[in-house]
């Protein structure tokens, strides 16, 4: 698949901001990377390989993402930690007009307050993004976690 350099650059920057926004605990900024009509879900490779639809987390529009983040800020309690995402290069698989599909491998480390780090999750993103006039918006993000055995709990998004 031939991908124009400016498209690749724009989407690479989008993913860098995606990771940094979560790692900097700017979850509200993370939400703003999505289009209003969007879909975000976290599934596991174990389920995907059996064609089972179970989700660990599923927001099928941007308001549900806003609700998740607001709930984390004010309602839910979870392990106190820092996140650190390490992303691989974008691997493009298709496009229709301004819509681009690609996959990215990720590693997500968590560090607790006393400084111990652990590998929290490893897997891939399957992404659909819209690029218009050098501006990119996420339409669909499916996190397919190889790490089906969630350590402790899953709160802050992958």
């Amino acid at each position: 698949l031939k991908v124009p350099p400016d498209i690749r650059e724009t989407l690479t920057a989008l993913m860098a901001e995606y990771a940094m926004a979560i790692d900097d605990n700017r979850l509200e900024d993370w939400v703003e990377l999505f289009d209003e009509a969007c879909d975000y879900k976290v599934v596991t490779r174990e389920n995907v390989e059996q064609n089972l639809p179970n989700v660990l987390m599923w927001c099928d529009n941007k308001n549900m993402l806003r609700d998740r983040v607001e709930s984390y800020r004010h309602v839910n309690l979870y392990n106190l930690h820092y996140d650190r995402h390490v992303l691989g290069p974008l691997h493009f698989s298709g496009n229709e007009g301004a819509n681009w599909r690609f996959e990215v491998s990720y590693s997500l480390f968590q560090t607790e307050l006393e400084g111990a780090s652990r590998l929290f999750s490893v897997g891939r993103y399957r992404i659909e993004a819209l690029v218009k006039a050098a501006e990119a918006r996420l339409k669909a993000v499916t996190v397919i976690a190889d790490t089906g055995l969630v350590p402790s709990l899953l709160a802050t998004p992958i």
Binding site: V42, T44, E46, N47, Q50, L52, P53, N54, V55, L56, M57, W58, C59, D60, N61, N63, M64, R66, D67, E70, S71, H74, V75, N76, L77, Y78, N79, G148, L149, V150, P151, S152, L153, L154, A155
Partner: protein, 418 residues
């Protein structure tokens, strides 16, 4: 480590923290509970519908294969080769005519019997097994399997165990509308590894006091509040329990008054998209929350229209896996399946009303390692004899859990309640 327990009180209103840290007790639990006369939850019948279908699972820390034989009967056997102890079935699931150990190709039937081994008669009259070697005598250990409304249970000591129907009592069938698991359609699995002793999870499931306090989401968005009509039922032996609540049986005013001294934000927050809270009343009993918890390792949970089983898998004294099987029913249409998946945002490792449990258990495990002979206080809902309650401000079923745990372990205090 000594495998003894000094109970401060005979009604289990004090529980020594040491019980979550003692390696010796953990080994005895594996022997006296999971390999003892208790019935443990294996999997759903719907997961092995066809002859040859199998799943691997864990009962305590014992690897087990659940398998449907050619004649349709269901078997559960230890997943360990009789020869040198290798794992026989390494896949999580599948369909097979027989199971072959990779090491020396010893072969087992779908019923878990050793049926063949290479070079048994040797080669050209040399080598081979002794003539009097009987394959039957070394077949892997088997569990007796029982089926209750589509949930499969097994016990390693059928001679000492009560019949399954009696063991589960009303908690088997009819304890909630969701228990008609016989027509279930599997939606998928989730797994969570919690760094805490498995009994902390068993206690958590019997502690209705924490639900609306730790899981503030319940109260804030009105999914489940202690002010709803509901209660806690236990079986006659107080080893199982069921927390339940009926939909739409309290008012916002009741709830505001009751939660005035907590941090709950009943008025200030609204979900922008409320569909994950929607409850389609599909059960005759109108319960929007029903959670029968079965000793030692199972939970059947229905929150709104999400239905799941959870199996507790101990992973050493300081950790356990929570293995969740989410399902719907075979006659669900596409919209209902979507709705069930959407409301499953509430449960599981990332669930709005369940993520906190992992954290609560881990911080207990962390802080009690150094607790010496100190004990937890379990008095919410009262001391002394155990009884059912038409409210949920209680943790009495925790005392029920410990009373049966102590009985199976042979560690009851003098004059113990049961």
């Amino acid at each position: 480590m000594t495998a003894e327990v000094r109970w401060p009180r005979n009604d289990y209103s004090r529980v020594p923290y040491r019980l979550h840290h003692d390696e010796g007790l953990y080994a005895l639990e594996m022997e006296r509970i999971f390999r003892g006369p208790a019935w443990s939850y294996l999997c759903l019948e719907a997961e092995i519908p066809n002859p040859g279908d199998f799943r691997t699972t864990w009962i305590g820390d014992m690897p087990v294969v659940v398998s449907r034989a050619k004649d349709g009967s269901i078997h559960a056997f230890v997943n360990r080769c009789s020869h040198r102890g290798a794992t026989i079935v390494r896949e999580l699931r599948g369909n097979a005519e027989r199971h072959v150990c990779l090491y020396h190709r010893w072969t087992y039937s779908t019923a878990g019997e050793l049926t063949g081994l290479p070079f048994r008669k040797g080669l050209k009259g040399e080598g081979g097994m002794p003539d009097d070697f009987e394959m039957k005598s070394v077949s892997p250990g088997k569990m007796k399997v029982g089926n209750c409304a589509g949930m499969l249970f097994g016990t390693f000591q059928p001679d000492k165990a009560e019949p399954l129907e009696k063991y589960l009592g009303e908690f088997g069938t009819g304890s909630s509308g969701a228990s008609s698991t016989g027509r279930s359609a599997i939606l998928g699995y989730s797994r969570q590894l919690i760094a805490g002793n498995w009994k902390l999870y068993a206690e958590n499931l019997r502690d209705t006091y924490h639900a609306s306090l730790l899981h503030e989401f319940f109260v804030t968005y009105g999914v489940d509040r202690a002010t709803q009509k509901g209660g806690v039922k236990m079986d006659g032996r107080h080893r199982h329990n069921m927390n339940h609540a009926f939909a739409a049986t309290d008012t916002q005013e009741d709830a505001k008054a009751a939660y005035a001294d907590t941090a709950a934000r009943l008025d200030r927050m609204q979900l922008r998209d409320k569909k994950l809270l929607q409850f389609n009343n599909e059960f005759p009993d109108s319960m929007n929350l029903a959670a029968p918890t079965l000793f030692p390792n199972a939970l059947l949970i229905q929150i709104n229209n999400t239905i799941a089983t959870r199996q507790i898998r101990p992973k050493g004294v300081g950790a356990h896996e929570v293995f969740q099987t989410v399902f719907g029913y075979a006659d669900d249409d596409e919209a209902m399946t979507r709705h069930r998946l959407m409301s499953s945002n509430l449960v599981g490792p990332a669930g709005f009303v369940s993520m906190e449990d992992g954290e609560a258990i881990e911080v207990v495990q962390k802080a009690t390692r150094s607790a010496g002979e100190a004990s937890a206080v379990v008095e919410m809902g009262g001391r002394g004899a155990l009884r059912d309650l038409a409210h949920r401000v209680t943790e009495s079923p925790i005392r029920g859990f410990w009373s049966y745990w102590a009985e199976l372990m042979g560690m009851e205090p003098g004059g113990a309640i049961r």
